[in-house]
Amino acid sequence: MDAILTVDGVSKRFGGLMALSDVSFAVERGAITGLIGPNGAGKTTMFNCVAGIYTPTDGRILFADGVGEPLNVAGRKPERMTALGVARTFQNIRLFSALTVLDNVRIARHCRTSANFFGSVLRTPSQRAEERAIIDAAMENLDFVGLGETALSPAASLSYGDQRRLEIARALATDPRLILLDEPAAGMNPRETEALVDLIHAILGRGVTVVLIEHDMKLVMRICKRLVVLDHGIKIADGSPQEVRANPDVIEAYLGKGAAHA
């Protein structure tokens, strides 16, 4: 398997709580991997470790951009992970809500642009060209998720489903190779979820590998090629949706002891 991301023995401890203990799995390049598990299983903690918000207490996180050698990126700052090509969305939508839809996405071009204070004040030709390119890239990503026409509205005025799509557009605008989607379908109606499935396949079509955390099992089983199941910070299963569905440990984790034999 050509792995874009390899999580190798990662543990994360918060005081006395082991949020993750010795978790290992690999994410296949160009596929959709699902990270599932009951509430409090450590899924978002895992995302935060990969995205650089947390430094793992132990273990390695290897990121292979497909060109050079895999890099151990455990403990890198979030902005450096973004520059490397790892983007993410948040479980509780975190938009820049006082700004416009366009500005939310323009900010995401930060790591791919370079104008500084003096360039901005003097409006040098290169700064102007860069600003134009930022708008073009932002609009391209907004059109990709279907929000192009709302570009100049305040981000806070969007519907809940559109706000989730805007977060995805913002993540895509950083030109990632790997995107981490934290419960992208949460709070969406069936029609919006259907559009989300198409969007995720389109993201894959752009050559971006997708990892998602999701509680909608129908959705997960349908679109993921591989699943990783966490429970209480421990990986309890890993494999294709069929394998995971048949795994007694998974059934027990979701439904309680005895359910696997019922």
Binding site: E79, C111, I135
Partner: protein, 348 residues
């Protein structure tokens, strides 16, 4: 409606430009107007921190003081030209901003506010006690006024004269202050509508999401601090060469609070708001200074009025007079083009 607002703006600007030349001009009014413009520069500078980055800075006046003393000392010891002093004072302010910011900007929220408050008290203590340098509480009197020496231009043109203009009275300072406000306004609007300004606003809105967009939070906060403190020092340098006397009690904590009130009154993160906030609070301060003694109250009770205004603002307009952030962004040519493109797409 929009057109009328524009016309009013230009009328006000024309009136402001013409006022010092009119026969009924009043030196006191001119003095207050210059003071307003000094505070406009301060408010625009401070606005970067709480307005753009969401950092509560209670020690802004410290950098105003550093700028003023840099200018005052360079003038009395080296008789340096104001035009050379301005960049030096700005750099000195920015330098102290970085020195204070680099170790403390990792603190968040109230902790950062406390450190900045402590710093401004430290500046006042330093200015009061390091008598060998600052003459302490006696202050620095007799600072030379600004002069504009363009004899080099005369020499260049082959004219054997001394082309030197010394600033006397309020009028030249008035116009210089206008230029200063206009320049800082231009810098601030351009920065607001740029990669740098967007990074700052992202930090204010949601630091974690900003970092995930690739913004190095610490570096951009330090840049914000350096720019903000540099502008504070600019206002200080002007003050020193305008009032011609500086002393430590001109830079007490109260001044920081006043500038913060201007920014909050105008609307955090709105540059026009900073201008309007300064004009209102300084003008009000002057009116109350005259009116209160007539009512038999000591002039110091005007501080109570400031407090009352802040309470009323917080109650009825919690986001200030102008609530729009990133205002200049929406007026840029690129965005106007985009608006037209989107409209064309909708009708197509």
């Amino acid at each position: 409606m929009r057109g009328a607002a524009h016309t009013l703006k230009y009328l006000l600007l024309a009136a402001a430009l013409a006022y010092p030349l009119l026969p009924f001009r009043d030196v006191y009014v001119l003095h207050v107007l210059v003071l307003i413009m000094v505070y406009m520069v301060l408010a625009m500078g401070l606005n970067i921190l709480p307005g753009f980055c969401g950092l509560l800075d209670l020690g802004f006046v410290g950098f105003y003081g550093i700028g003023a003393y840099t200018a005052g000392l360079l003038t009395i010891h080296y008789n340096m030209s104001f035009w050379l002093i301005v960049p030096l004072a700005v750099l000195n302010g920015a330098l102290f901003g970085v020195l204070l910011g680099a170790p403390t900007l990792r603190l968040v929220g109230d902790y950062f506010a406390i450190v900045t408050f402590g710093f401004s008290e430290l500046v006042v203590l330093f200015l009061t006690n390091e008598i060998w340098l600052t003459r302490g509480p006696l202050g620095i009197p007799g600072i030379a006024p600004i002069s504009l020496d363009v004899t080099w231009l005369a020499t260049l043109l082959g004219v054997d004269e001394r082309w030197r203009y010394a600033f006397r009275g309020e009028v030249p300072y008035y116009y210089l202050a206008m230029v200063m406000v206009a320049l800082v306004f231009l810098v601030m609007t351009r920065v607001e509508d740029s990669r740098l300004g967007r990074a700052w606003l992202a930090i204010r809105e949601d630091p974690m999401a900003a970092a995930s967009c690739g913004v190095n939070l610490f570096a951009y906060k330090v840049i914000a601090f350096a720019v903000s403190t540099g502008i504070g020092a600019l206002a200080g340098a002007f003050l020193a060469r305008w009032t011609l006397f500086i002393s430590p009690d001109m830079f007490k904590f109260w001044e920081s609070f006043l500038v913060l009130c201007m920014v909050v009154l105008g609307g955090l993160g709105n540059i026009r708001g900073a201008l309007v906030g300064s004009a209102i609070l300084i003008a009000l301060g002057e009116v109350l200074r005259v009116a209160l003694p007539k009512l038999g109250l000591p002039a110091e009770t005007r501080f109570l009025a400031y407090g009352l205004i802040m309470v009323v603002i917080m109650r009825f307009r919690p986001h200030g007079l102008f609530t729009q952030v990133a205002e200049s962004t929406m007026q840029s040519g690129l965005i106007k083009d985009l608006r037209a493109r989107i409209a064309a797409r909708r009708t197509a």
